[in-house]
Symmetry: C2
Subunit: 229 residues, 2 copies
Amino acid sequence: MRRGRDAGGAAGQVATALREEILGGRLPGGSPVREQDVAERLGVSRTPVREAVSRLVAEGLLIKDGNHTAHVFRPSLAELLEIYEIRMPLESLAARLACTGADEAFLDRLEAAGRALTEARSGVDWSVKHEAFHMCLVAGSRRPRLEALVRTLRVQSEPYVRLGLAFDADFGERARRDHEDIVRLVRARAADELEDLVRRHLEATSSRVSTLLEDHQMPPPPPAPGRAT
Amino acid sequence: MRRGRDAGGAAGQVATALREEILGGRLPGGSPVREQDVAERLGVSRTPVREAVSRLVAEGLLIKDGNHTAHVFRPSLAELLEIYEIRMPLESLAARLACTGADEAFLDRLEAAGRALTEARSGVDWSVKHEAFHMCLVAGSRRPRLEALVRTLRVQSEPYVRLGLAFDADFGERARRDHEDIVRLVRARAADELEDLVRRHLEATSSRVSTLLEDHQMPPPPPAPGRAT
DNA sequence: GCACACTACATTGCATGCAATTGTGGGGGA
DNA sequence: TCCCCCACAATTGCATGCAATGTAGTGTGC
């Protein structure tokens, strides 16, 4: 288990804990994150919390409004589209690199990740496996920086994918076929087709999610339940 | 002058100061950065320094080795190549977006930046103008995240461009023609050609710089002389 | 002469206390 | 009744002190 970032210290643990809470939806987009609260909740002082908040701001998971208070990042539609615009060339590049440099061990890992994704049942389970599958593909590029960038961007937009899946049954089926094709194309070393498929896969997700955001009048509130009406 | 990041506080000023010192070469690649030193040098306590170091680590300008000590980032050849691999699709995408969405004001700014670049004399001046020109192009995409990403990546690899220019007179001439063509293609709204040109421009720089690194047995020591006592 | 252990130091990480700034609520006046 | 001003509370930013950890240098034993 490579938890390379956020190594041992208290600050790293705080960062990990906050990340979990945000991605798990317990901290919905837009929620203010106060140092004192987090410090008491996790049983540390404010100093490592400040450090952790700094990192998460750098990762784009938190933002600081003009008055220095940190909020959970909640992308607008335009921001979401921009993130996908950036992800497209990055992830398709990673797929190409992974494809040309694929060895047998990588193919096995990717196939296993694909099977796990297919067998996923619940929405959150699917989301986790989906993330793992795509990050496996990206990791196959053997480009640490590229991998880190893509992870950050995916984390910022991932809650919306769950949203898309929840509202559109057909969405999951199309995604499933795409994932099967991805494994197939990697096996066939068809780098060009793979690159194109990854791009179209993201393009589809992007337009699907944005349509949903518009249709459902969901301006921003993405990730979690809770929303006291 | 939009210096949006690193707002007013002491931590932001420390971050800016450190960034200047690194980019200016007064802190060569690989130098250790000790909190106490920086704090005394800039007349603040260690706390804002820690904050600043955190940000710069997130930006990739500093790295922390296993024992928590921060060093100025000094990319290996492989890392440098990876950065260029990432920059290529990102900057070519930005160029395309800037091209399709260009208005008259933007064209004027870009042309001015191009003229300033042409008229630059000294190496450091050219470097600054070169950065400004390309970032002007990227800013024309009107994608804040894309712009931030590219800025970070360029900052990490920029010292090597200076290196390339210093050792290869022909390099500057080729770059000059490329920059002229970039302005021309934006004016002509030739998005496809522009995207391709930007990619080839970066490709050329990448291979040029890496050849130089190999030839001159310059494993890493990039940026500048000076080394503050 | 070499190897190993021990000590002293340098450096980072964390906790706590204080200053500064901002948002907000209440009260007074027009 | 509405608006403005003042004061207080909440929150972040900064400084300082202390603890832990890793390292280098030295001294001793083999």
